[in-house]
């Protein structure tokens, strides 16, 4: 028989309890509700730890580690340089085309990486979701944040490229965080929407890489200059601007390479991005109560 002689309890209570413990009310889910921003803020450490975990694990598990972040845009840069420059003769003004392509691919990979990480994050966190409570939005946020880390690493390669080509950044470089922030928020909106869909429809996972690839070619500024669009029919060019990435990527590249900043295109892209963020996050909040039952 196990002897249950319990040790004397230390007379210790958290001094923060003085204000009285917090109250929680658990009720059946309502139909639509506001985003629990205060709660998300309370769980900011979890967001950071999840992002940190994903970076750590990838670094420990893959031989190339963080080099992947640089490898992908560099390879595409090479391909683009051959096809768009040599074959299609795309004009990029004073900027050498490889540099130009890399500076467009960098923000694109930020978006694509954040969207795909966020979209798959919920399904991959099944064990957490069914065992512990926390605002579910921290999972796609944490997953998407990893793409920002990749972006910073790949940006180091951009600096090297710029030095190699003798290109110098301008004051616009100070606006890079703004561009990155807007791209991140747009990606978060799209990613959380896809994440919610992914829980319900598991075959969505297979459609995702294709969707992202198609989106890249539908974003002309990844491989063309914003002005090149003037050769396109007006309606097509207008449609391209409804794609938030068109303006955001043009702006990010201009900021990185010290070119004139396309404020108008960025404004349109950011407005569309904000709508996508709102839609994605609201849909997510609407269905998040069911994740533990559906996953």
């Amino acid at each position: 028989m196990i002897a249950l002689t319990l040790p004397e309890p230390p007379a210790r209570r958290d001094p923060t309890d003085a204000a009285g413990p917090p109250e929680t009310l658990i009720e059946p889910p309502g139909r639509w509700r506001w985003l629990p921003l205060a709660e998300l803020w309370a769980y900011r450490d979890l967001c950071r730890m999840l992002a940190w975990r994903d970076v750590q694990v990838r670094y420990k598990q893959t031989a190339l580690g963080v080099a992947w972040a640089v490898f992908q845009p560099l390879v595409l840069m090479g391909l683009f340089a051959v096809f768009f420059r040599r074959v299609a003769h795309v004009a990029t003004g004073d900027v050498p085309y490889p540099l130009y392509a890399y500076a467009g691919l960098l923000p694109w990979f930020l978006f694509a990486g954040a969207v795909s990480a966020a979209a798959n994050s919920l399904v991959d966190s099944e064990r957490l979701i069914t065992k512990v409570y926390f605002p579910r939005l921290v999972i796609p946020i944490g997953a998407a944040a990893v793409a920002v880390v990749d972006f910073l690493i790949a940006a180091a390669a951009l600096v090297v490229l710029m030095l190699a080509y003798g290109s110098r950044p301008g004051w616009g470089g100070l606006l890079i965080p703004l561009a990155v922030g807007m791209i991140f928020l747009t990606a978060l909106g799209v990613g959380s929407l896809l994440a919610a869909l992914n829980v319900k429809y598991r075959d969505f996972r297979h459609a995702l890489p294709f969707l992202i690839q198609a989106w890249m070619f539908a974003t002309p500024t990844v491989y063309l200059s914003l002005d090149a669009g003037t050769e396109l029919p007006d309606w097509l060019w207008a449609t391209a601007h409804l794609n938030p990435l068109t303006g955001q990527i043009a702006f990010a590249r201009a900021a990185m390479l010290g070119e004139p900043l396309p404020w108008a295109a960025f404004g349109v892209g950011s407005a569309v991005g904000a709508v996508l963020l709102a839609v994605g996050v609201i849909v997510f909040a609407r269905v998040e109560d069911g994740f533990a039952d559906a996953i």
Partner: protein, 405 residues
Amino acid sequence: MAAIVVENLSKRYRIARTAERVAYRTLRDDLAALATWPARRLRGRIDRAEDFWALRDVSFEVQPGEVIGLIGRNGAGKSTLLKVVSRITKPTAGRVRLRGRVGSLLEVGAGFHPELTGRENIYLSGVVLGMRRVEIARKFDEIVAFAEVEKFLDVPVKRYSSGMFMRLAFAVMAHLEPEILLVDEVLAVGDAAFQKKCLGKVGELMRSGRSIILVTHAAATAQKLCTRAILLDAGRVTSVGPVRDVLAAYSASALPTELGGNENIRVLAVRAEPVAGESIAVDSGIRLTVDFECRVKARVVDCTLEVSTGDGIVVFHAGTFLTESEPCDEGLYRVTTHVPPHTLNAGDYHVRLIFGQARKILLFGQDSVCRFEVANVPVYGTLTPLPGVLRPNLAWRVEYLGRCG
């Protein structure tokens, strides 16, 4: 003021009643279903989801410092109740009011990642359970000391032994210091010494005014730790009160739900009860009783009980004739037998009933007419049940035969 107030809580799950039950929906299936919907509608073949109520009108209160044992069969709704109270899933109706921070230990090692080191996992798992980073940093040394893993802090936890992993995981959870703690049978981890430490921690939390809901199968654990118990059956609360009363109700609820019969035999009642004590345990002995109506006459009728484990291993198959060697009469009969104490090991058992004519012709038979649970009685300082179907109290003799050679 109550720490937990549960009011008319209900939780419904929808079970798809399609011919082939798919685990997950695919967009392709839904698109296909949408396309063929008018056709199926015309033919009147719309699939209706079936409702399953995991919880139905559950109400109770827990005061600060109380330890509530949640008892019930598998599928009675215990885990669902903990999931609702810990906010993992939302109720369908009713509500829960909580005063204080909630810590739920539904799984040991929630949030752990095998590739990360012990140190990294303490932070990760702590944050997942709802602690702030600064709070973890403050309690870090305490957690490490409790888990006894100082030497392995910078080793990935995938290299840990299962015991070390459990200790570390429990240590993080134990230092969450919530006002309300929800525990799902994770106490049965690690070796005896660590179990004792865990129980000590639970006792400590209890006396510092925390409220605990403990899901348990083990009557012994419930009796040691809990101040009150709640019995759940098919999603409803069927008994609330002192632990021993609820445990007695739990044993009594082991009665069969449907008793069968035919033109030969009609079964009236089958019972499994403890010979001594409140509930069936390894050391209580078990009285098995069968009441039935014999509808045939002038035949030699026998009654046989076959007791099997939950895994389907037949433990014994034994019975008796109703009358010694001569044909019996129609009428009501009661057959009783005793399984001596220290025979069956802890676990779930079910009884199959067979009526025969002189053990040659089957008159009537029914599977699982009665189920019962034998509660564990700790031995050798461990709460974990011993392996084996039987747990006999054997007589041992030790002799010293002298020195070697």
